[in-house]
């Protein structure tokens, strides 16, 4: 797998998938609204689906009989509301969990959230995926219909291709008398124990995140639950005939979300199938090592100039990755302004957890934290250069266009800027310090247009939301910056939004011209 260099961007295949995802994101946002776009909440939605599956599963297990597994499921199937429909909801929510997990993995991959501080989330995610598929396997076997028999026998063949067992696992399925309640007990045990293990894994999966979004927005929860309930009523899954070990299993249909691996059975031997699936899973687990950028190409982690840290806690509270700690100030002489011993804790960045999102740069009033070259002070220098350019412009209004690199493609970014629209690209809109914006407005710029990812789609989880809160004075240090709201236009943008952004830019220019006209108040807070 080619290592990707953030400076040159991801490789072609990843870019193509990323483009497809952006296209889908936009389509879904248009239909459901950016806040309730399911594609922005694949992880939390997968948890929600699992929760629905657990609740319906707990209900169903009361009716499950180890001595008559098929008959007990068939009885449930004969009861429409409290049997068939609940069983259907259990099945479809489990299917939904697989779909959403797959989308979640693809998303994390193309967004580059797969190495360094994200490695633990990636590895625990790989275990979660394996556990999810195993839970599905045990679930279908529980029913002990044609599909259950098919995957039980095929699964045993896969296991027997490994030189692990002295007694072949498949021997248990050669004649009916060998399968009894003890087999179904072990299977049921796994079906219940694996989801418990998944809860622990999920905790591990999100342990590195501050405020992990365990649940999707309410609207999405009810919408998805309602849709699946309707589906369960309209098209509940049937039940193939009872498993018969002296018959060739021919269920007629299978659930490919879980049992996709059966397809390989038609083409290759069990040994090769096992090698294929284990190999693919190992490749998934190796992604953090195989695809991380070369050290020289990695963006450096944040650092703090502790001498000037005022201990306000804002960066510590804002960091989406729990990478900032408050520690006792260094003793005099070591990183300390001479003659002044601080009486408060100061910020310290745990570099192994820092993803270099730059969000802390914008948290800091004294502008002393952030990735090298992207702290508030660095931004101030860039802003000064931009203001100088603006002063030499004949064109009015002079607008600074701040563009999030994750929101728009390089071509789109170029199309939005020009000699009279001074462009400034940032790695994440969450790093834009409100004081920088205020500085620009106070030093010759008539307006600032910011194009950032929609909050739910921010690759650094909370960057866009913080930006909005800071610019509107609802989050520090935005309150102090007092950015003139009439002269700032914040646009949520995704690749493909160029026409809309151009129209927004034209509207913004008109507004700024009106503001400059003598009949209108010039600057200020309405």
């Amino acid at each position: 797998m080619p290592k990707h260099n953030p400076a040159t961007g991801p490789n072609r295949a990843t870019r193509t998938i990323a483009q497809a995802i952006t296209w889908l994101d936009k389509g879904f946002s248009r239909v459901y609204g950016a806040g309730a776009n399911p594609l922005y909440h694949t992880g939390p939605l997968a948890i929600w689906m699992l929760l629905v599956a657990v609740i319906t599963g707990v209900y169903l297990v009361f009716f499950y009989e180890l001595s008559h597994p098929f008959e007990s499921v068939a009885w449930l199937q004969s009861q429409p509301v409290w049997g068939r429909w609940i069983r259907a909801l259990h099945r479809y929510s489990s299917d939904g969990a697989v779909v959403l997990t797959t989308l979640h993995v693809i998303r994390m991959f193309v967004q580059g959230r797969r190495w360094g501080p994200r490695m633990m989330a990636w590895l625990s995610g790989g275990l979660l995926l394996a556990a999810l598929l195993l839970v599905g396997w045990t679930g279908f076997v529980m029913v002990w219909d044609g599909q259950g028999q098919l995957i039980a026998v095929a699964g045993a063949r896969l296991l027997d291709s490994l030189p692990l067992f002295t007694e072949p696992v498949g021997r248990g399925f050669v004649k009916p008398e060998l399968i009894g309640p003890s087999f179904f007990f072990i299977n049921l045990f796994l079906h219940l124990a694996l989801p418990l293990a998944m809860t622990g894994l999920l905790w591990w999966h999100t342990i590195r995140l501050s405020r992990p979004g365990w649940f999707p927005p309410r609207l999405l929860m009810w919408w998805s639950l309602g849709a699946l309930t309707l589906l369960s009523v309209a098209a509940p899954p049937g039940l193939a005939g009872k498993a018969d070990l002296l018959g060739v299993p021919s269920p007629g249909e299978v659930d490919l979300f879980y049992n996709f691996w059966l397809l390989a059975g038609a083409v290759v031997s069990p040994g090769w199938q096992m090698a294929l699936w284990v190999g693919l899973w190992l490749a998934l687990m190796a992604v953090p090592w195989l695809s991380r950028p070369w050290p020289a190409a990695r963006r450096p982690e944040s650092w703090v100039d502790q001498r000037h840290c005022d201990g306000c806690l804002q960066c510590y509270l804002d960091c989406p990755y729990n990478a900032i700690r408050m520690v006792p100030p260094p003793s005099e002489g070591v990183g300390q302004s001479p003659g002044r011993q601080k009486d408060h804790d100061v910020a310290w960045v745990e570099t192994r957890l820092c993803v270099s999102c730059g969000i802390c740069s914008a948290s800091c009033s004294p502008m002393v934290i952030g990735p090298p070259g992207r702290t508030g002070r660095d931004q101030w220098h860039q802003a000064a250069a931009l203001a100088k350019k603006a002063a030499s412009l004949d064109h009015r209004p002079a607008i600074a266009v701040i563009l999030c690199a994750n929101a728009l493609s390089p071509g789109e970014r170029a199309a939005l800027t020009g000699p009279d629209r001074l462009g400034w690209q940032v790695d994440c809109s969450g790093e834009i310090h409100p004081q920088t914006v205020a500085y620009l407005l106070a030093h010759g710029l008539d307006g600032v247009l910011v194009a950032a990812c929609p909050p739910a789609g921010c690759q650094n989880r909370e960057g866009s939301r913080y930006l909005e809160e800071r610019l509107s004075g609802r989050r520090d240090p935005g309150q102090k910056a007092k950015v003139d709201p009439l002269r700032v236009d914040l646009q949520w943008a995704e690749s493909g939004d160029l026409p809309r952004l151009k129209a927004a830019m034209a509207g913004f220019e008109t507004r700024l011209r009106e503001l400059e006209s003598p009949s209108k108040p010039k600057r200020g807070h309405p």
Partner: protein, 189 residues
């Protein structure tokens, strides 16, 4: 205007929501119920069994070097290892040889039971089956195994296979014979 523009939700948007949701659900149902595995026209002959009889000691003379490396009280003229006999499985249906396999006992010392597990998909109908499971007098390297030979098993008979059904030929080692199960079709009352 600082907050991003939130488009209003006209009825068209709700229609789009419902349509997209319905399309996604249709896809979900389709993949959840993918047609797979039609009822086969053939029948299956399944052989299964487990063999533990035939434990023997395979001995060889110790080499002078081996003897010299041991303290005098541990020196033995012969080194012996216990193992199970290997078997040869031959299956012929209607005179055609379908399998001629050597079955070595698993394990490093070849002392674990031999499991036979084989399936043959055959045309439904009547067939002549010849099945032989004979102990093999040689080990994997071709050295003769001395010791009491375990019994061999044979089955020569007519079988009837039904479409989509399995006929199981099961070795009962204790009784020293093959049992046949599943010869009746699923439709037989």
């Amino acid at each position: 205007m600082m907050t991003p523009s939130q488009p209003k939700v006209p009825w068209l948007r709700w229609a789009a929501r419902l349509t997209l949701t319905a399309a996604l659900l249709t896809g979900l149902v389709w993949v959840s119920h993918t047609p797979f595995g039609t009822r086969p026209a053939q029948g299956v002959l399944r052989l299964a069994g487990r063999m533990v009889a035939g434990k023997v000691s395979v001995c060889r003379d110790s080499t002078p070097q081996e003897l010299a490396s041991l303290p005098p009280h541990q020196r033995k003229k012969k080194v012996c290892k216990s193992r199970l006999f290997s078997y040869t499985l031959r299956v012929a249906v209607d005179g055609t040889l379908l399998a001629d396999d050597r079955l070595d006992p698993p394990g490093l010392s070849h002392d674990r039971p031999i499991y036979v597990q084989k399936e043959f998909a055959l045309a439904a109908g009547e067939h002549r089956l010849a099945l032989e499971l004979e102990p093999d007098g040689e080990d994997e390297t071709g050295v003769a195994i001395s010791g009491p030979r375990p019994p061999g098993y044979r089955l020569y008979r007519k079988i009837t296979l039904h479409p989509g059904r399995v006929m199981l030929v099961w070795l009962d080692e204790k009784q020293g014979e093959f049992h046949v199960m599943g010869e009746e079709s699923a439709d037989t009352p």
